[in-house]
């Protein structure tokens, strides 16, 4: 993947001059600055030399210096990643639970009222642009009924607890700072709802299809023949079997959720990685954009790996000996 990113950059920006502009960031620079950068970063060296130095640097966690904040990129990412990860993970858990529920309800009442209601809901959820969804949520809960705060991670008047893990909720809980914990919890609800609602449509759809598939299987008929009640068959046999595709899907959804987080964090001014990425696109901070992209790619790969392991836990048939 690093290779892909590297080659894409070099295909798009073939000359050292163009590359140097990337390192400066922004749009104000002089010719002398450009030449200085070319010498400093060895941009006129052969491409394979550049590739290996890039690779080695990234493996050491060195993504370069942020051209806006003038600090190493890793320092910023270290701060922002846990914030985003926290609410994306909570959102995905909610979304999967919701999707499993609505999907199985829709499948067991196929082509009747509950199915239609759920279909309308998930179609809207799926097709709605994330920004519209987030704005509506913000309007309804924060401005109209005023039950939840409209933006920020936590009440800015409170002193944040010391950083231990980087995850705001976890940190507050570890240090027993419950007022801060409460405040974070209040602020996290809307972004989580937005991401969960944006993603639950596809989960529902797949769950419905897979449940319908499983309901036709012989082993379900066998369970009925054994005299088990409808509920027992559903819980014991149908649900477990139809859950399998959801695991793969959830790993894929993780990527979509992070992409959605870019928009959602911008609307809720929730200062995590997505907000950072948005800021970088506005200020043309190329290095920040590239390193964020790489980090997100790596985290999606990790999510897929976890999904593979979960697969074996849920479905004994794919377990390795």
């Amino acid at each position: 993947m690093i290779f892909i990113v590297f080659s894409l950059i070099h295909i798009i920006l073939p000359s050292p001059q163009a590359m140097a502009k990337v390192y400066i960031g922004g749009s104000h620079f002089t010719q002398a600055e450009v030449s200085a950068i070319i010498v400093k970063y060895g941009l006129s060296k052969p491409i394979y030399v550049q590739f290996f130095s890039y690779l080695i640097n990234i493996l050491h966690g060195n993504f370069g210096i942020d051209s806006l904040y003038k600090v190493p990129e890793m320092y910023l990412l270290d701060k922002f990643i846990p914030i985003t990860l926290e609410f994306v993970i909570i959102a995905i858990i909610i979304q999967v639970l919701l999707g499993l529920l609505t999907g199985s309800v829709a499948a067991s009442w196929r082509n009747r009222v509950p199915d239609w209601v759920i279909k309308v809901l998930y179609l809207i959820a799926w097709a709605m642009p994330v920004f519209l969804l987030a704005t509506l949520l913000q309007f309804v809960f924060a401005y109209y009924t005023k039950v939840l705060p409209p933006f920020n991670i936590a009440n800015p008047l409170l002193v944040p607890p010391k950083t231990i893990t980087g995850f705001p909720l976890l940190d507050a809980a570890i240090e027993g700072d419950w007022t801060y914990f409460d405040s974070v919890l209040d602020h996290i609800v809307l972004p989580v709802l937005a991401i969960a609602f944006a993603g639950f449509g596809i989960t529902t759809r797949i769950m419905r299809a897979s449940t319908i598939d499983v309901l036709d299987k012989d082993y379900v008929k066998l369970s009925y023949m054994k005299g088990l009640s409808r509920w027992k068959v559903f819980r014991g046999t149908v649900f477990r079997n139809s859950m399998i595709p959801i695991i793969t899907l959830t790993a894929l959804q993780f990527g979509f959720a992070i992409a959605g987080a870019v928009v959602i964090e911008e609307i809720f001014i929730y200062k995590g990685m997505g907000f950072f990425l948005y800021q970088s696109t506005v200020s043309l901070d190329y290095i920040a954009i590239l390193s964020t992209t790489l980090i997100i790619g790596i985290s999606v790969i990790i999510a897929n790996f976890i999904a593979d392991i979960l697969y074996a836990v849920v479905d004994p048939r794919v377990r390795l000996d």
Binding site: I12, W126, P129, L132, G255, A259, G260, T281
Partner: protein, 319 residues
């Protein structure tokens, strides 16, 4: 049954392909099913209107550009979508004169939505079209020949698929530079790997089918087999997937525009219109709501149609 009949059948039509779980009865066409389904029909009508409008409006814009007479581009619209700022008309609520209200610069939102439509249609069709061609070619070749070529291509697509599409598109279009075409290029780069995956999956199931084996026996070369037998048979389920995908492209495209990447002002774009309206949101609801609802409507139509097509043509796609 004599032997030439068997060969004809094996070599012949696409009706032999029984990988699809729901086979169409011979006498009914695909259109029959689409036209007799309320949801798919609704989707189809909205999409048809959208496409016809985009073609008419798009060609007017192109002709207008060519003749250096941009006014031709808004000949059919009630108001000039690119009018110079007129703050007397700023932020007017929907009325008879301005059906969807006006924006901060006093431009008619309805006209701007219609003016932006061809660009969205073009983005969807160009991106998915090129993705199908490039992905289809690479995926079919990878699946057909297998071996190291397959491995290499699939690792490349894996790497692409690992990075969420929206984020890679942001990074690429920022690197290429601002503008409509850079977004198109970025989206195309992001979009082809999924089609390569789909085509490879289809090719793997088709590779050992009778008609491919038979044409090998007849001495057909690889190129002919790929283009005459594998590709046409693989494409049906993928078209159904693509119908769904048009909606996704429009959604991604407008999200990019929302983030300020893509067509630059004063040219209208649904996503950026919604984004501009956000700062006035609760009071001036029409500014954000109408462009967003347009996106919603178009995407839902594509999903409804694509869903039905997928039900009809294929059972399920394999990667």
């Amino acid at each position: 049954m004599n032997i030439s009949n068997i060969f004809k059948k094996a070599l012949g039509s696409r009706k032999d392909v029984d990988t699809f779980s729901k086979k169409l009865p011979e006498n009914l066409s695909l259109w029959y099913y689409v036209l007799h389904d309320v949801q798919a029909l609704t989707g189809l009508i909205i999409i048809a209107l959208f496409i016809i409008w985009s073609i008419v409006e798009g060609s007017l814009q192109i002709v207008g550009d060519y003749l250096r007479n941009p006014a031709l581009g808004w000949m059919l619209l009630p108001h000039n979508p690119l009018a110079p700022p007129n703050y007397a008309l700023s932020l007017k609520p929907p009325s008879m004169a301005f059906i969807f209200g006006t924006n901060l610069e006093g431009e008619d939102i309805f006209s701007r939505i219609l003016y932006a439509a061809p660009k969205d249609a073009m983005a969807a069709f160009v991106v998915v079209g090129i993705a199908i061609l490039v992905g289809g070619l690479l995926g079919t070749v990878a699946g057909y020949f297998g071996g190291w070529l397959d491995e290499a291509l699939m690792r490349i697509t894996d790497a692409f698929l690992a990075i969420p599409g929206l984020i890679l598109a942001i990074a690429l279009s920022i690197l290429i530079g601002p503008g409509f075409y850079s977004v198109l290029v970025a989206l195309t780069i992001v979009w082809w790997p999924i089609y390569a995956r789909l085509f490879r999956g289809q090719t793997l199931t088709l590779k050992y089918r009778g008609f491919v084996e038979v044409s090998k026996l007849f001495g057909a070369n690889h190129l002919k087999i790929i283009f005459k037998h594998v590709f046409p048979n693989a494409i049906d389920p993928i078209v159904a997937y693509a119908a769904l995908d048009f909606g996704t492209v429009i959604l991604t495209y407008s999200t990019l525009a929302f983030l300020g990447i893509g067509i630059q002002p004063p040219y209208p774009e649904w996503g950026s219109m919604a984004s501009n309206g956000l700062s006035f949101f609760p009071g001036v609801w029409w500014y954000t709501l109408f462009p967003s609802v347009t996106i919603l409507l178009i995407v839902i139509s594509f999903i409804l149609l694509g869903d039905k097509l997928q039900d009809i043509i294929s059972g399920r796609l394999t990667y």
